[in-house]
Amino acid sequence: MVNRAVTGAHYGLRDWLAQRITAVIMAVYTVILLVVLLVGQPINYGVWQDLFKQGWMRVATLLFAASLAWHAWVGVRDIIMDYIKPTGLRLSLEALVLLTIAGYLAWAIQILWR
C-alpha cells in the first residue's frame, strides 16, 4: 500500500452532534440528582435504596450512563486520532476503548436492575 495521506471518510457530524446532545442529557441529570439529594436530606442507605427502586430513577440513570458512554467514546477516539499514528495500533486501542466502555455500560445496567 502506498503511503499517502487519505481523508474523506464522510462521517463526523453525527458524533459531533451526539457529543453535544449527550452533554446536555448529563447536565440535566446532574441537576436532577443534586436536587433529589438536597431535598431528601439526610441521605442514608434506606433513602438511597428507595430512590433507586423507582422506575424513573433507574431509566434516568441508565440514560445518563448511556450518554456518558457515547460521549466518552467520541472524546477518547478523538484523542487517539490526534496522537496515535500507526493504523494497527490505533484500531487496536479504539477496539479496546469500545469494549471497555461497553463493559462499563453492561455493569451499570446490572447494578441498576439487580
Binding site: T7, A9, L13, R14, W16, D78, M81, D82, Y83
Partner: protein, 231 residues
C-alpha cells in the same frame, strides 16, 4: 531593546540556536519590523520574509514572545524590553524566521477557494443583496498569513489532513456566498473526522489573528449548515 532571534540554516547548522541582538532604536522606529530592519543592517544574514510592511501581504508572520503575529503591525511600544522571535510553529524551517508554507497552501487549495458557478456570466456582474453581502464580512479579509493555523495544535498534529482555521474560514467564505453553486459539494468535502472535526474549539486562532477575524465562528457556522442539511 534586546532581541533573541531564532537562527537556523538547515544546510549548515546541525541544530537551531538563539542569537541575541542589542538594538538602539530611533524615534521613527514604531513597529517590530522597523527593529528587524535595523538588525538586518547590522547582520545581513538574519532572514525573514517581508513585503508590504502594513499588514496586508501577510509575509512577516512570526512567533513574537510566544504568540504568533505580524511584525509590521506589532507596535514596539507594546513589547517588553526583551523580545524573543521564533519562526511560526509547526512548519518546516527554511532559514531563520522563514518557514515552508507548502502544507498550509495545500490545505487552502483543497477547499477550492474560488467561486463555482456554471451559469453563463451576466452582462455586468453577479449581484447580491446587501444582507447576503454582509455575511462575507469577517471572512474575505483573511490575508493567509498562517498565524492562526500554526497556533492550532490540531494543525500541528495533522497538517496533512486537518484543513486548519485559515482554510476553514476561507471554506465558509465560499459556502456563505450566495453566488456560489457548489455548497453541497463543499460541505461533502469537509464532512470528515480529520478535515473539519479535528477542531476542538480551543480558539487559539481567534486569539492570534492579526486581522481580528474569527475562524472558530466560521467553523461553527459550517457545522450548523451540516446539521441543517442532515436533520
Amino acid at each position: 531593546m534586546r532581541f533573541s532571534i531564532y537562527r537556523y540554516d538547515p544546510d549548515k547548522d546541525s541544530a537551531p540556536r538563539m542569537q541575541d541582538y542589542e538594538v538602539a532604536l530611533e524615534p521613527t522606529d514604531r513597529m517590530l519590523l522597523d527593529a528587524l530592519t535595523r538588525i538586518k543592517s547590522v547582520d545581513d544574514s538574519v532572514s525573514y520574509r517581508r513585503s508590504c510592511r502594513e499588514g496586508i501581504c501577510g509575509s512577516d508572520a512570526m512567533n513574537i514572545n510566544g504568540k504568533n503575529g505580524l511584525a509590521c503591525i506589532t507596535k514596539l511600544a507594546d513589547l517588553p524590553e526583551h523580545v524573543t522571535l521564533r519562526p511560526l510553529p509547526g512548519l518546516p524551517v527554511i532559514r531563520d524566521l522563514i518557514v515552508d508554507m507548502t502544507q498550509f497552501f495545500k490545505q487552502y487549495h483543497s477547499i477550492k477557494p474560488y467561486l463555482i458557478n456554471d451559469e453563463p456570466a451576466p452582462e455586468r456582474e453577479r449581484l447580491q443583496s446587501p444582507e447576503d453581502r454582509d455575511e462575507l464580512n469577517g471572512l474575505y479579509e483573511c490575508i493567509l498569513c498562517a498565524c492562526c493555523s500554526t497556533s492550532c495544535p490540531s494543525f500541528w498534529w495533522n497538517p496533512d489532513k486537518f484543513v486548519g482555521p485559515a482554510g476553514l474560514l476561507q471554506a465558509y467564505r465560499f459556502i456563505a456566498d450566495t453566488r456560489d453553486q457548489a455548497t453541497s459539494e463543499r460541505l461533502d468535502n469537509l464532512e470528515d473526522p480529520y478535515r473539519l472535526f479535528r477542531c476542538h474549539t480551543i480558539m487559539n486562532c481567534v486569539d492570534v489573528c492579526p486581522k481580528n477575524l474569527n475562524p472558530t465562528r466560521a467553523i461553527g457556522k459550517i457545522k450548523d449548515m451540516m446539521v441543517k442539511r442532515a436533520v
